[in-house]
């Protein structure tokens, strides 16, 4: 495993070259922030977007409520299979892994999250959540803006094929790279044999090295960047080959993305923000099976990631947040599915979260145009994460003050 000592060994030559080294993967010891301030322990945030509108009512289930059983004749989950969080609320039967995290004091469920005058349009609502604002024009994202305050933080968009960068990451000072695998960091060559390959790489790396009479200036800058780039690339290649997860990851795209995140975090490269998504939650028909599979995928992947990170000692640094652009209707429709709704729960997984439920489950009978009413604005959750986890003033990012929800332990 690539240890911090190995990192410092290769890193020392960079310190010798002096000056600020414009790396996306490096931070020198001098820049490490004080550990008592929020964000001071290089906290990590992984955002998992559930695209399509997750049916929150069947995810975090008020199984004792009669109204639930009446509203969901075919989609209701049997009470004896639900994983209980408390006497009234439990998780969908497929989420046993996530339930395990609750028993491990690492799962916070914020209920009834939404925003005023909710939109049921996928595009508009997703833009609102990603921008952290309900304004008419939304050119920038909340994470992009947050990154302006923590410029040293490397961030990554773990993309599916052909997925473009989400609005949430727009506005960052340095464009957030979209990566699919570690191969995106490899220096490629077209060689005629293995020997030729080594030969080419050695030429590229040696010609990039600055000459002994380094005079500063642009050429020097390019050369230093190049040297660091190749070093990082090699390191990441090693990481790719040598990474042994402590816990098996499910072989799903989400599982692979989180595994990649784990590799980047463990490589000690200063990677702090990750954004990824899980699609197909728009279950208008025949919801039972597909929703079950999705929740199982989510639960298994997030749990594997968290346990892997914990086993490596990053338990207290890591926070995983899930959200969806809206929830779904209380009553199921005639095709055994559900239509677009409003309020829904969010999950926060991490070693420092307040375990259990935050906020009451919205009433199933006092509805707003057939949809659940929210009591917590999603920007309050963002404010908590920005202020108390990342150490970024939430007011700058969200444009106004939102009272942060109490989701972290003291």
């Amino acid at each position: 495993m690539f240890t911090r000592r190995d990192f410092l060994k290769t890193g020392s030559s960079m310190v010798a070259l002096g000056g600020s080294v414009p790396l996306f993967l490096n931070r020198t010891a001098a820049q490490a922030p004080a550990s008592d301030r929020p964000g001071g322990r290089d906290t990590i945030l992984v955002v998992v977007q559930l695209t399509g509108g997750n049916d929150g009512l069947n995810t975090v289930i008020p199984f004792r409520d009669d109204a639930y059983n009446r509203a969901r004749p075919t989609l209701r989950q049997p009470a004896n299979q639900i994983h209980r969080i408390n006497d009234d609320i439990g998780l969908h039967p497929a989420m046993n892994a996530l339930h395990g995290l609750h028993q491990d004091n690492s799962l916070c469920i914020v209920q009834g999250v939404g925003y005023p005058n909710p939109s049921q349009s996928h595009f508009r609502s997703m833009d609102v959540w990603q921008a952290g604002s309900t304004a008419r024009d939304l050119p920038e994202g909340w994470i992009g803006k947050a990154l302006r305050n923590i410029p040293g933080a490397a961030s990554f968009h773990l993309a599916n094929n052909n997925e473009s960068a989400p609005l949430a990451l727009t506005g960052a000072p340095v464009r957030v790279p979209s990566i699919r695998s570690l191969e995106d960091f490899q220096l490629r060559v077209e060689a005629s044999s293995n020997r030729d390959r080594q030969s080419l790489r050695s030429v590229i790396e040696s010609t990039a090295a600055p000459s002994s009479a380094s005079s500063g200036g642009l050429l020097d800058f390019v050369q230093r960047t190049a040297v660091n780039t190749f070093a990082s690339s090699r390191r990441l290649e090693q990481l790719g080959r040598s990474y042994q997860p402590r816990v098996p990851y499910p072989n799903t795209p989400l599982g692979n993305h989180l595994r990649l995140a784990a590799q980047l975090i463990d490589g000690g490269l200063g990677a702090r923000l990750f954004y990824t998504s899980l699609d197909n939650f728009d279950t208008h028909a025949a919801q039972a099976l597909s929703h079950t599979n999705l929740l199982r995928t989510l639960s298994d992947a997030v749990s594997a990631f968290y346990r892997d990170m914990s086993a490596r000692g990053h338990r207290d640094r890591v926070l995983v947040m899930t959200f969806s652009e809206f929830g779904r209707r209380v009553h199921e429709n005639g095709s055994r599915g559900t239509d677009h709704g409003a309020a829904a729960p969010m999950f926060l997984v991490g070693g420092r979260v307040r375990n259990g439920l935050v906020g009451a489950h919205p009433s199933l009978t006092q509805l707003d145009q057939d949809n659940l009413r929210h009591h917590t604005d999603f920007r309050q959750v963002y404010a908590a994460i920005l202020d108390r986890w990342l150490g970024v003033p939430s007011r700058q990012v969200l444009g106004q003050e939102f009272r942060p929800v109490d989701v972290f332990r003291a």
Binding site: L23, V189, E190, D196, T207, L218, L219, D220
Partner: protein, 479 residues
């Protein structure tokens, strides 16, 4: 900030005088390459040789005027616009279309300066969401690229794309939208601080508010801009010390009468065309700025002065910019005299951080060192590989270094190395770089190749690899 603390002082009086070749500063192939990198998108081998023969004056002439459009590229591409979906969804094709023009333009300087203006008036299709408008704005900028800045600034206030971008289209009579007025002063003509007296502000919030009133009443109708008198606040406004019933054209006039205006624009041109490392002090810019104002903001004239100047061809300015992504990609394709589809290039350029028609914000691209970080540099190297290997499906098979070498009768390994070093870097690399390339060629010559490859395969592979290696030299990242 200066990188070399002990930089020789530049004399503003002689900096902008016309360059004449001397023994100390002769007209050599390095200068030709430098000129083509800055004023165009790189040079082909033929253009380098021709420039060397023709001398600085005639070469700059050629670049300023452009070659004759024998293939009617302008006409053909104008027709192609009809095939691009005008509304939403045409964004990628619009970018590909402009890249196509840049790539094959007989007058590359025009496209390059339009790119400069695009960065200056940074309007993004992400908000405008209309390919037709973006191309319309491009045409506007191109028309006046080497012409009058005053006219361009005036016409820009009624450009549809700009109206959507900075909300002029929404500006109400009783509640004027200040966006355009602010950016007009802050980003398009004056800057926040007075260029000569940095402690002094160029305008106040009150000026902006008053100016915003003048821009009310403009509306987009059927894709064109119109003026609705009943939405216009025609009262008296006081802007920057002048009072009157100002309309948009008046505000532009008033801004251009301010002291800072010519310096602001000259400084931008300096950073784009001359150097990102030499500080653009007011003293250095003074001759340019004075002439710019006297000529009634004739940008073309200032451009020509800069391109012919001593400073432009001096050693300090040589390789003092980081090569932007668009230049990086186009120089390779033009140098290899290949043909390449531009739609794939759009995605690649986005990864490198510069996608035309999509600047990150109204302040444009940061440029300079911001172009390069650990990831973009890697992408550049991999892009160079994609363009030279001929096995990358995104870029097709027609930018082939091996074909170019054959066409130029370049055979031995040494000739190949020297050919590409001259083409892309005018041989201005440290000796050990050249030696390493020769050594590579020798090793590859004797090395094993797959058993089913023919002799020609092995040779071509070597040529392509050498070309790729030349493009990964750190010097190639500089302009």
């Amino acid at each position: 900030m200066p990188d070399k603390p002990e930089q020789p002082q530049i004399d503003p009086r002689t900096a902008w005088e016309r360059y004449r070749p001397t023994d100390a500063s002769p007209w050599d192939v390095k200068k030709v390459g430098h000129l083509y990198r800055r004023a165009a998108f790189g040079a082909t081998m033929a253009e380098l040789e021709e420039g060397l023969r023709a001398g600085p004056d005639r070469t700059v002439d050629l670049l300023l005027q452009g070659k004759p459009d024998r293939d009617n590229l302008l006409g053909v591409t104008a027709e192609m616009v009809l095939g691009i979906p005008a509304g939403a969804g045409g964004g990628q094709q619009a970018t590909a279309w402009w890249l196509y023009r840049m790539m094959y333009a007989p007058h590359p300087l025009r496209e390059k300066i339009t790119l400069f203006w695009h960065n200056h008036f940074a309007t993004s299709n992400r908000k405008v969401n209309n390919a037709g408008y973006m191309i319309g704005q491009y045409e506007l900028m191109r028309r006046h690229a080497q012409g009058s800045f005053r006219t361009m600034l005036r016409e820009m206030s009624t450009d549809p794309a700009m109206m959507v971008w900075l909300d002029t289209n929404q500006s109400q009579r009783n509640q004027p939208n200040e966006n355009y007025a602010r950016e007009l002063m802050e980003l398009f003509s004056l800057g926040i601080n007075n260029y000569r007296r940095p402690g002094q502000r160029n305008y106040t919030e009150q000026d902006i508010r008053q100016a915003a009133r003048a821009f009310t009443g403009l509306r987009l109708e059927g894709g064109r801009s119109g003026f609705r008198a009943n939405q216009h606040d025609d009262g008296e406004k006081t802007v920057l010390g002048q009072t009157g019933r100002w309309r948009p054209a008046d505000i532009v006039r008033i801004c251009l009468e301010q002291e800072s205006a010519p310096y602001f624009v000259a400084a931008k041109l300096f950073r784009f065309l001359v150097s990102e490392t030499i500080p653009a002090t007011p003293e250095l810019l003074e001759p340019l700025a004075r002439r710019f104002r006297e000529s009634d903001y004739n940008f073309g004239e200032m451009l020509e002065t800069v391109l012919r100047s001593n400073l432009f061809f001096s050693a300090q300015v040589y390789r003092s910019r980081v090569k932007p992504p668009v230049d990086f990609a186009l120089e390779i394709v033009r140098g290899l005299q290949g043909r390449m589809g531009t739609t794939a290039l759009v995605t690649v350029l986005e990864g490198l951080g510069q996608r035309p028609f999509y600047p990150p914000s109204v302040a444009g691209w940061d440029a300079g060192r911001a172009w390069l970080n650990g990831q973009t540099l890697l992408f550049r190297h991999n892009l160079a590989l994609g363009l030279t290997s001929t096995t990358d499906d995104r870029f097709g098979r027609r930018t082939d270094p091996a074909r170019l070498a054959r066409d130029n009768n370049v055979r031995s390994d040494e000739e190949v190395v020297d050919f590409f070093l001259r083409l892309f870097l005018q041989n201005d690399v440290p000796a050990n770089a050249r030696n390493r390339l020769l050594e590579y060629a020798r090793r590859a010559h004797n090395g094993p190749v797959p058993v089913y490859w023919s002799q020609r395969d092995a040779e071509e592979q070597r040529v392509r690899a050498i070309c790729h290696l030349v493009l990964t030299l750190p010097e190639f990242q500089l302009s």
